[in-house]
Amino acid sequence: MDFVILSLVMLAIGIYGLLTNRQLLKVFISIELIATAATLNFVMLASSTGQGLGQAFLILAFSTDTAVSAVVLALLVIVTKKYGTSNINEILKIQEKKDSEAEQ
C-alpha cells in the first residue's frame, strides 16, 4: 500500500475533472479533490516517519482552504445569478453576445 501513489491518483482525477467539467460547482469539487490529495500526501508521509508536523501542516492548509472556498463559492453564486446558468460555455456565449451588442 503506497499513499504517494494514492494521492497521485487523486490528484490526477482532480485535474482531469478540472479540465473536462463545464459546471462551475463541479470545477469547485475538482479543486477540493486536488486539495485533499495534497493534504493526504502531507499527513501520510509525516505519520509514516512518526512526526506530528504533517498534522500541523494539515490544520494550516485547512484554514486557508476553507477561506478560499468561501470566497470562491460567493463568487460562484454571484456569477450564476448574473448569467442565469452555471455552465462555463453558456456563460462565455452570453458574455460574447453582450460584448457584440455593446460594440454595435
Binding site: D2, I5, L6, V9, L33, S47, T49, T64, T66, V77
Partner: protein, 153 residues
C-alpha cells in the same frame, strides 16, 4: 486489509463526485471522499488530522449542499445504472496502482516531533497564512463591491 478497502472507497467516491450528473448526488459522493480520508488518517495514527478533516468536511458539505440546490439546473437528466457501474469500475481499477505498486523511499534519519511542538513551531507560518486569508477575503469583497458599483452606473 482495511487500508486497501478505504483507499478503494476513496478513489471510487472521488470518481462519483466528479462524474455524476446530478450536483446533489455529487456532493453526497464528496462526503464519502471526506469520510474515507478521515478514516485513512485515523488508521495511520493521525487522529487530530482525522478530526479536522471530518469537521471541515462537514462544514464544506453543508455549504455545498445549499449552493448545489441553488445553482443546479433542475432539467438535468438522471445518471443511468450503466454509467454508475462504469464509474465504480473505473474507480476500482484506478485504485489498484496504489495497492500493488510502491515507490522507493530513502531511509533518512528523522527527528520525531510531537503534534503540540509542531503547532508551536509553525505559529509564525500560521500568522502569515492568516494574513493571506484576510487579504484574499478583502480582495474578494473589493471585487464584488467594484462590480456592484460599475454595474449600478
Amino acid at each position: 486489509m482495511i487500508l486497501e478497502i478505504l483507499s478503494i472507497g476513496l478513489i471510487i467516491s472521488a470518481c462519483l463526485a466528479l462524474f455524476l450528473d446530478e450536483v446533489v448526488y455529487s456532493v453526497a459522493a464528496l462526503s464519502g471522499t471526506f469520510l474515507f480520508t478521515a478514516l485513512l488518517y485515523f488508521e495511520n495514527g493521525a487522529p487530530y488530522a482525522a478530526i479536522f478533516q471530518f469537521v471541515v468536511g462537514v462544514g464544506t458539505l453543508a455549504i455545498l449542499f445549499l449552493s448545489g440546490e441553488m445553482l443546479s439546473d433542475k432539467t438535468t437528466k438522471k445518471t443511468s445504472h450503466t454509467k454508475l457501474s462504469a464509474l465504480i469500475g473505473a474507480g476500482a481499477v484506478l485504485s489498484l496502482p496504489a495497492i500493488f505498486l510502491s515507490v522507493s523511499s530513502s531511509t533518512g534519519t528523522y527527528y520525531s516531533t510531537t503534534f503540540g511542538n509542531a503547532l508551536w513551531n509553525l505559529s509564525g507560518v500560521d500568522v502569515i497564512l492568516q494574513a493571506l486569508v484576510l487579504l484574499t477575503v478583502a480582495l474578494g469583497i473589493a471585487i464584488i463591491l467594484y462590480e456592484r458599483k460599475s454595474g449600478g452606473k
